[in-house]
């Protein structure tokens, strides 16, 4: 700190007077670097090593990558991840846009309903999965009481199609409220003057939705879809608790396969390679979405950085 004799900053009111220095950012930055940035570099390095959890990792060149390229379960897991992510986006996006714009209205009943819609968000993924697993129990859950509806032995998690449907449904149950919340906030910030103008032109509810609301929600749609993609690709807790990747490996998505490789087979090198694949895919999709939609430019204007 530079100070003059009077103990006051040398340039009172000058551009840098009273501004914090870099030191203010240092503690948080170091902490974050240690537990997030360093591990991110670590995952890249460890993908070229073999480590079983004991001793130290040893470099083994491209071995993990060669193993992975010929691994049928890995290839299947990539397809399954893509499928579950796409299903999630396809179901949750329209649903949450409709619910969000509806909940954005200031009517009393809408406020009460949207307060209840939030409830699934209060539960942890573990709680959600345990809850639905219990609800779908073939003997003591809903299939037991409504066997004609669920058909067969009522074991909805016993087939690949059934298990994928359950994962998609539970994902939607858990995360639609979050996206609804995003759209609700965004729909509320649409300038009312646009709707007033449309009213004067005699536009109906549907027309207003497609010509005003939807275009105005553009930025939010990008944010929400990116969240769904990253979230979908890294879905883990629900798969572990609901299906354990099964039946067989039928719902072993990439993130779960990585967990199995690391903490069940103790093949941490291959697991790191899988993790790196996940990071690259998720980042690429996010960047492409941001670029294609021109979101980055709008965002930077809003942020004023």
């Amino acid at each position: 700190m530079t100070r003059s004799d009077t103990g006051r900053p040398r340039h009172p009111g000058g551009p840098n007077a009273g501004r914090p220095g870099f030191a203010w950012a240092l503690p948080a930055t170091l902490f974050f670097a240690l537990f997030a940035i360093l591990p991110l570099i670590g995952v890249a390095v460890m993908s070229f090593t073999s480590w079983s959890g004991l001793g130290n990792p040893a470099f083994n060149g491209l071995d993990n990558w060669v193993k992975l390229a010929g691994d049928k379960v890995m290839m299947q897991s990539l397809w399954l991840s893509a499928l579950l992510t796409l299903l999630g986006v396809a179901i949750q996006t329209p649903l949450s846009i409709l619910l969000g714009t509806w909940a954005a209205g200031h009517q009393k009943n809408r406020a009460i309903l949207s307060a209840i819609y939030f409830v699934p968000l209060l539960l942890s993924s573990a709680a959600v999965s345990v809850l639905w697993r219990a609800l779908l129990d073939p003997n003591f859950g809903l299939p037991g009481q409504f066997s004609s509806f669920f058909g067969g032995d009522g074991n909805v998690l016993g087939t690949q199609a059934g298990a994928i449907a359950v994962l998609t449904f539970v994902g939607a149950w858990q995360f639609t409220p979050l996206h609804t919340l995003l759209y609700q906030g965004a729909a509320r910030s649409v300038p009312p003057v646009l709707y007033q103008a449309a009213d004067i032109d005699g536009a109906g509810t549907v027309r207003k939705f497609f010509s005003i609301t939807l275009p105005q929600l553009r930025n939010t749609i990008v944010t929400s879809v990116i969240l769904m993609v990253v979230g979908g690709l890294t879905t883990f807790d629900t798969v572990l608790i609901l299906t354990k990747g099964g039946p067989g490996t039928d719902t072993t998505i990439t993130a779960f396969y990585m967990y199995r490789k690391a903490f069940q087979s103790f093949d941490f090198g291959v697991a790191s390679a899988i993790a790196l694949v996940l990071v690259i895919i998720a980042t690429t999709i996010s960047l492409v979405l941001v670029r294609v939609t021109g979101y980055d430019k709008m965002h930077s204007v809003q942020e004023g950085i």
Binding site: G13, T29, F32, P39, G42, L182, G185, L227, V279, T283
Partner: protein, 272 residues
């Protein structure tokens, strides 16, 4: 704006309401029935008996110790976040140092790093540091992964403080330290409560880090307890539901009494 009732949307919203509420209803009614009573009536029926045995069984199985562990983790994570994030956000908003924009970009990049992707190096790091199977081992990475969003939220709310106020402080010869405590902190109360709620939720509901970084009963948190309970007594549905209810009870209370901060905290999950 005059709005006539939109019946189709109204019907749709009621259907979604049912989808949200039916599982909650089943959970609540199951928790007050005995296992036999529940099995006999089926999940959707009105409860035919009343018992508190599910809760007493939970308590005697040591579930409350898991609650205590989770509370320790949550309070510590919030503590770390509240100490680290405000100075960082203040620097992001006000500092002219060259490194600051790089730091902010790094944190933005951090938003895109899923915790799942780095569990192997974190496992290695925590093991090497001798923190495996300790609550500190859970606390440190959980707090670190809260930082990006909390920084984004808080710097957003600090940007709303007008430059004139900072300049007035500077004119009076205030040091950054003084501006921080006298101006920035008092005017960022809303943002700070949002990041408290957000990081508390993350810590309370966290599953992945506890799963890979702990193993003994003495360090077990609620989410892991639920998972274990489900693997061991999967068919004791009333017992499971009681555990689920107990795990969400504190969050539910916060929701009832501090809805605004909680909703904003949840929106923080959306990176908004």
């Amino acid at each position: 704006m005059k709005a006539k009732p939109n019946y189709i949307a109204g019907a749709g919203s009621v259907i979604w309401l049912l989808i949200v509420l039916v599982p909650i209803y089943v959970m609540l009614t199951a928790t007050i029935q005995s296992q036999q009573g529940y099995a006999a009536k089926g999940p959707l029926s009105l409860p035919g008996s009343f018992t508190l045995e599910n809760f007493t069984a939970l308590v005697s199985s040591g579930f409350l110790a898991y609650v205590l562990n989770t509370a320790i983790v949550t309070v510590s994570v919030v503590g770390i976040v509240v100490v680290l994030v405000p100075p960082l956000a203040y620097a992001v908003v006000r500092s002219r140092s060259r490194g600051i924009s790089l730091v902010f970009r790094t944190f933005l990049l951090g938003l895109a790093i899923p915790a799942q992707a780095v569990i192997v190096p974190i496992f290695y790091l925590i093991t090497v540091a001798g923190l495996y199977d300790s609550l500190i081992g859970i606390i440190l990475p959980t707090a670190a992964f809260c930082l990006p969003i909390c920084t984004l939220i808080l710097s957003g709310s600090m940007r709303d403080i007008t430059p004139e106020l900072y300049e007035a402080m500077a004119m009076d010869g205030a040091t950054p330290m003084r501006s921080f405590f006298r101006l920035v902190l008092p005017l960022s109360k809303g943002g700070i409560s949002t990041i408290i709620v957000f990081s508390a939720l993350q810590a309370w509901n966290g599953f992945l880090f506890p799963l890979i970084l702990t193993q003994s009963a003495s360090t077990k948190v609620i989410t892991l307890g639920l998972f274990d309970f489900q693997s061991q007594y999967g068919i004791n549905i009333p017992g499971l539901m009681a555990a689920v209810l107990l795990s969400m009870l504190p969050v539910l209370l916060v929701y009832l009494f501090a809805r605004r901060a909680l909703v904003q905290g949840l929106m923080g999950v959306g990176g908004k």
